[in-house]
Structures are given as C-alpha cells and as structure tokens.
C-alpha cells in the first residue's frame, strides 16, 4: 500500500513539473522574443513569437505575437503572409490599440497588390476609427511601440490622417 502511494506521488509530481516546465517554457519564449526584438534580432524574435503563437495561451502575448509576425513579414516584403496575419489579427483583436497601425499596414499591402476594393474598404475603416474634436490643438497624436521595436505614430488632423514609421511619413489619408 505505501508502495502504491509512492508511485502515485511520483506520478503527480512528474506531471506537475512537466506542466510547470511547459508554462515556464512559454514564458521564456515570450521573453526571448521580446529580448530578441529589443536587441534588433528580428529573425530570432520571429522564431520565438511563432512559438508563442503555437504554445502560449495568454491572449495578450498571442495578440502581440500575431502582430509581430505580421509586422516581420511586412518589413521583409512578404506581403501575402503579412496580409494573412494582419487579417487574423484584425479579426481576433478588434479592440487592440494596434488596430489603426494594422489597418495602415494592410492598406499599404492592398495598394501594393493594386486591390482597389480592399484599399477602399480599409481606408473607410481607418477613417471610421476615430472621431476628433480640436478646440485649441491643431491635431491629435498617438504613438505606439511595436513588438519588433518600431515606432509608429498616427496624427489625426481635422481633414487628414498621417501615418509615420520611425518618424518617416508612410501614408496620408485625406477626407
């Protein structure tokens, strides 16, 4: 009987350590991805973010990882893969603060594909995103740091929206 208890205890401890080990590995993937992005090693960051998408159930990590994957493909010029990841991101995380950035990236990709109907639809979604009231200010600015370490900035004027990546104007939408 004590022998059986010992076997049971060993089994429970085994599975417990396995689980903890896995959770630890997931946390490690996310941290490794962040570290790689911070050090500018985008390929490693992609590898670890892909692991997060496979293994990590945390929705915040998954959201960040999905955006990072889309962003990586966008920067690498792999627009078809970026389009797929961005579409998934926009569908799964409609309230994300990165949504406007994702839409601007999608707009640039759709223009690259000469897909007029998608461009129109995305432009409309961007213009519908935010309503602004400028009493004393000239414009409203929003800045985002991306998972891969890029600086995004959106400036909402009364009649246009400007989109910057790392301080460089990438796109302008005029109402």
């Amino acid at each position: 009987m004590p022998r059986n208890r010992l076997v049971l205890l060993i089994s429970v401890l085994f599975f417990l350590f396995m689980g903890l080990g896995k959770a630890g590995a997931q946390r490690q993937d996310y941290q490794l991805a962040k570290d790689a992005a911070k050090s500018g090693d985008k390929e490693f960051a992609l590898m670890h973010f892909s692991s997060v998408l496979k293994n990590d159930p945390d929705p915040n990590h998954r959201q960040e990882a999905l955006f990072a994957v889309a962003e990586y493909y966008y920067l690498a010029g792999d627009f078809p893969d970026s389009l797929g990841s961005l579409s998934e991101f926009l569908e799964n995380y409609p309230d994300s603060k990165l949504r406007p950035v994702a839409l601007f990236l999608l707009l640039e990709i759709s223009e690259n594909f000469n897909n007029d109907s998608l461009s129109k639809s995305v432009e409309k979604q961007i213009m519908d995103l935010k309503r602004i009231f400028l009493v004393f200010k000239e414009a409203q600015e929003y800045s985002f740091k991306s998972p891969l370490g890029l600086d995004y900035k959106l400036i909402y004027y009364i009649d246009k929206i400007e989109f910057f990546i790392n301080g460089q104007l990438k796109k302008q939408i005029i109402y």
């Binding site: 409309k124 213009m127 602004i132 009231f133 009493v135 004393f136 009364i158 009649d159 109402y175």
Partner: protein
C-alpha cells in the same frame, strides 16, 4: 366560184356577228343582273360584314373577269379600306359545272388605308372579321394590292406607297408586304379554328422583328425577338435595343384585350408586363415589373427593381388620363452613382392632351417624388402642375412647366433628346415665394429655417448629371438651430434661439462628386453666418462655417461677459469659425483661428485649456450627434 366564196364569207361574218351579238347581249345581261344584284352578291361575302362592305359598280368581262369599282370597307365616311379599281378572276370550269363563282385571284391598284378608323373598326367588328377570315373556304387564292397608301394626310403625294401580296395554297398562307424601307413576311398554316404563324418578320432600317405563334378567335400567343436600332446613332451594337425571349399570351374579347403575360428581356433586363385594355372607350390597367441593370447591358451597372403600375383611360377628346406609380429599388451601388436606395414617383390625375400633336399639354393634380438614400429621405410634392411638351416628332423636344410647390411656385423650361437611348435633359427652373421650412422633405435643416425662398436652378443630365443653382430667403428667421440653441443655453442668451434675418442666400450643387452648399451668407442684426457645407461620396463631409456675433449681444450673457474682457475693446464682432469633416454620422470638429480664439488662448492658462478642450469636445459631440 368567187360568188360562192363571197356567200360563205358573208355567212361566216353573219355567224360571227350573231355570236358577237349573243356574247354582247350575254355580257350586257350579266352586267345588268350584276348591277341589280350587286348588294345581294356583296351580302354573300358574309352576313355580319354586309353593312361594312360597299362597291359602286361591278362589271363582268369574259371569259372569267369581274371588275369592281370603288370597293370600300367601313362605316359611312369612315372607310378603313378603299379599292378604286379591282379585278377578280373566277374559276370558269367551276362556274359552268357547279354554277359557283369561286374567285381565285384579286388584283387591285391605288389602295387607300386609313388606320385612324382601326380602333372603332376593331371595337365593333373584330370578332366578325376574324370569324369571316376563319370561315373563308380553304381554297387556292391570291390577293395582290399595289400602290397602297396609308393615312388621311392631305398631301397625297407625300405618302409612302406600298405593296401587299397574299397567297393561300391548300392550308398554307403566305403574306408579303413592302412599303418604303419596311418589309413584312408571314408564312403560316390556317385551320378551321386557328392560324399558326410559323414565321412573322417585319424589318425596316430601325426594326428587326421575328415572331412565331398561334392566333385563335380569342387568344394570341407569340414568341420571338425584336431588335431596335437608334436612327440617330447607328454606330455600334451598343446603341441597339435587344428585346429578346418574347413570350406572350393575349386574350381578345373585343373591345376588351387582356394581356395575361408579356415577358421579355430588354438588353438582358427581364421585364414582365400584364395589362387589361379596353379599346373603345380606351382604358388600360398596366403593370410592368423589371429587374433592371441598365440599357448599356453592362454588369457594372447597378441592379434595380423597377415596378410601374398605371391606370390609363381616355378622358375628353384626344386626352389620356393617368394615375400611376413608379417604384425603383436600387439593390446595388457603384461608385459613380448617386446613393439612392429607393425612388417612388406617384402621379395623380395626370391628363395628357394630344389635340395639338406634336405638342402635348399635360396637367396633374399631384406629383409626389420620394427618395431614400442610406442616410436620408427626401420628399417633393408638386400640385396643380401644368406642362407643355413640344416637338414629339423631332429629335429635340422642348418642355415648359409650372406648379404649386410648398406655398409658392416652381417653374421651368428645358429640352430633352435621346442619345443612344439615354435621355439627355437640359433645364432651367426657378422657385418663387416658397415656404422654406416646408422644404424639410428635401433637406431636414430647412425645418428650422423660415421665410420666403426664391431660387434659380440649372439641370444637365449629360455628359454627367449636374444640378446647381442659387437660393435666397427673404425676411425670415432661424429657429432653434442646434448650434445656436447650444450657444444660447451655454451662455444664457435666449435671443440666439431665434435669429431674424433680412436675407439669407446660398449656392448649391449636386453632381457625382456629392451635394453641397457654398457661398452661404446670412446677415442679421446680431449674427452673421458664412461658409460652405459639402457632402461627398461615402457621406464624407467637408465644411467650414464662420459665425460672427455682435459684442453687444454677447454682453447680455453673464457667463460670456468675463470672456469678453479678454478681447480687444475695439472688436465689434466676436468670430467663431469652425471646420467639420469626416463621416456625416460622426463628424470631426475643429475650432478655427479667429481673433476671439487667439485672445481667449492668451487669457487662459495651459492647464485650463486642457479641461476646456475636453469639456467643449463633449458638448460639441452632443450637438453633432
């Protein structure tokens, strides 16, 4: 020998003379008999048609020829058919053996037709005529009519002449006709109770029609196609109208005609038509339904459900009365189209007078035009409309109209022509002393604008539709305009809720780029408003509005007084300029630069600005909702 020859010659001459005399007597006798029995002979045509048919004289010429002079069909002076001289051949063997005059060929020249009498003719005698035609013994027969003229025109030389040929051989019927560039061919089979049209072709430079079907005494069923080409521009197939897949079932019980089914496609747009028609007096209940994409036969055109129903009837002489309704539901939109989802046109007591044709005189008790876009509804009511349409027989038609409209008048004139089957309209119109608040059916903001409105408007439908003009409102007032109401409440100046003005004016324009008002100008004692407002494709707004308030007015406000202290003392007007943009349903707002704003900014510390920005933002959001 010579005297013998002479005697023989005299005997032959005598015999010949006797024979000639007998034949002459016979001919004269036959002709006298024919003259006396003319009416009985005609009656033999058909008892029911006897009263319609007449002939001045009938002569016989040997061996088998009958000459008929002035043969007519019709009532009194209203003759639908006149045959001045006709020759008919009858079968001599059949006459000798059976004493039966069987005519197997008729030839007639200078035939005159008057189609204007056709409605009366069909009304009273269609069944008799059809019955007569179906009762004609099926025997070989030829009818050859030459130099046919149609119409009752005074200028006979200007009429087009045509020929008509009919041949019946056993149960086969062949018809061929030609007039000017028009030709008609009909081949079919006749039976005791019906006629089968195996091939009916009618062609001229503008029409190519091919039908087949069956005609019974009370039913016609036809299938086929018609291709219409534009007489003005015959450049390509694009300008053709293709009426294909015709499938019809029409019941006759004259004077009633019931179109049970008339289905066809017009340039690939399916159309279903039903009608109940009375020929005389004329009336028609008509219903047309179509899933219409456009005459250009292009998939890019938007799909519309069109439903037209009308009750038409003849009112006074040469006047058509109509009550009708046209509904158009636009199911799809393309980027160049106006964003209309539904259009309804209702006509009540419309009278069209043809007395001065080609001039039409039109009156209507009421015309209502309702339209719905994805954001608004629009309603226009015209009452006591009178209009004149001139030049129906010419490519360019001109029109004039005047109507009561919202307590005032609307009037105008213009021209209409068809270009590749698309109507091209140019019109200039005006409004006078219209109650501006009653124009809220066109633009909801008018509900808060009072005064007598006058306007000049221009409409062009080609090459792009454009509607533009300028309007003036005199001696009116703005009542509870949202922005002014908000200012009145915010600063405690109740007089801002109602602003009297002497004149307010604005230009407007609607085209495929959008609709908008520009050069807006309102001048009142205490408030001045200028600016523009444009609604572009996708309901995007572009607008700048400039308000100027007299300082004396704002000084009445205890809340505003402290702010006025920040201003330059010499300023008489306090300017409040703002810009709107973005979606109509969620417009962005910007307070534009002005002296007032500048002075205010100088006088307010930065931390207070942030609070004020937030507060004003929320307040403005509530106004723009």
């Amino acid at each position: 020998m010579a005297s013998l020859k002479n005697k023989l010659f005299i005997k032959i001459k005598g015999l010949f003379f006797i024979c000639f005399a007998i034949v002459l007597i016979l001919i004269i006798s036959v002709n006298i008999i024919l003259a006396y029995n003319k009416e009985a002979l005609i009656k033999k045509l058909d008892d029911n048609l006897f009263r319609l048919v007449n002939a001045e004289n009938i002569f016989y010429l040997p061996p088998n020829l009958i000459i008929i002079k002035n043969f007519t069909v019709g009532y009194g002076d209203k003759k639908i058919l006149r045959l001045p001289l006709s020759t008919a051949f009858f079968s001599l063997p059949e006459f000798i053996s059976k004493r039966n005059i069987r005519i197997f060929s008729i030839y007639s020249d200078r035939v005159a037709l008057d189609p204007s009498t056709l409605p009366d003719f069909l009304k009273d005698d269609f069944n008799n005529i059809l019955g007569f035609l179906l009762k004609i013994p099926r025997q070989d027969f030829k009818l050859n009519l030459r130099q046919i003229t149609a119409g009752a025109s005074e200028n006979k030389s200007s009429r087009t002449k045509g020929n008509f040929y009919l041949r019946i051989f056993k149960d086969r019927v062949s018809i061929a006709g030609k007039t000017g560039d028009s030709s008609l061919v009909l081949n079919g089979k006749i039976n005791q109770n019906y006629f089968i049209a195996e091939n009916l072709e009618y062609k001229n430079q503008n029409i190519d029609c091919q039908l087949k079907g069956i005609l019974k005494s009370n039913l016609a069923q036809f299938q086929g196609f018609i291709i219409l080409s534009d007489p003005v521009s015959k450049r390509t197939n694009q300008s053709n109208i293709f009426i294909l897949d015709i499938d019809s079932s029409i019941k006759f019980n004259f004077p009633k005609v019931e179109v049970e089914r008339l289905n066809f496609s017009i340039n690939n747009n399916p159309v279903r038509l039903t009608a109940n028609i009375s020929i005389s007096p004329f009336s028609c209940d008509l219903k047309i339904v179509s899933d219409f994409r456009g005459m250009e036969n292009s998939k890019k055109s938007e799909l519309k459900n069109i439903e037209f129903s009308a009750e038409l009837s003849s009112a006074a002489e040469n006047t058509l009365s109509a009550d009708g309704r046209l509904n158009i539901d636009v199911l799809e939109h393309n980027k160049d189209s106006l964003p209309i989802e539904r259009l309804e046109l209702t006509l009540k007591n419309l009278l069209i007078n043809f007395n001065e044709f080609p001039i039409l005189k039109i009156t209507a008790q009421t015309i209502n035009l309702f339209s719905r876009t994805n954001t608004n509804t629009y309603n226009i009511d015209l009452t006591s409309l009178t209009a004149k349409l001139d030049g129906l027989n010419q490519p360019l038609r001109r029109f004039k109209f005047t109507s009561s409209f919202c307590g005032g008048l609307i009037f105008g004139k213009g021209s209409l022509k068809m270009l590749d089957f698309i109507p091209v309209v140019q019109a200039v119109a005006g409004m006078k002393d219209v109650d501006s608040n009653r124009l809220d059916g066109i633009l909801v903001h008018f509900s808060k604008t009072y005064g007598k409105l006058s306007s000049q408007m221009y409409l062009y439908s080609y090459p792009e539709p454009v509607f533009q003009g300028r309007m003036n409102i005199k001696n009116g007032y703005l009542n509870n305009f949202e922005f002014l109401k908000w200012l009145a409440d915010l600063f405690g100046i109740p007089s801002l809720k109602k602003i009297d003005f002497n004149t307010a004016s604005a230009s407007f324009k609607a085209d495929k780029e959008g609709v908008g008002m520009h050069d807006m100008d309102l001048d009142s004692k205490d408030v001045k408003i200028k600016g523009f407002f444009k609604l572009k494709e996708g309901d995007f707004v572009a607008s700048k509005i400039f308000f100027s308030f007299r300082k004396a007015l704002l000084q009445k406000s205890t809340k505003f007084k402290p702010l006025l202290k920040l201003l330059d003392k010499n300023q008489d007007l306090v300017k409040f300029n703002f810009q709107l943009s973005g979606k109509l349903s969620g417009m962005n707002f910007k307070w534009l630069e002005s002296d007032f704003k500048e002075d205010l900014e100088k006088g307010i510390p930065n931390f207070a600005k942030r609070g004020l920005e937030e507060k004003l933002g929320k307040a403005i959001e509530s106004i723009l909702e």
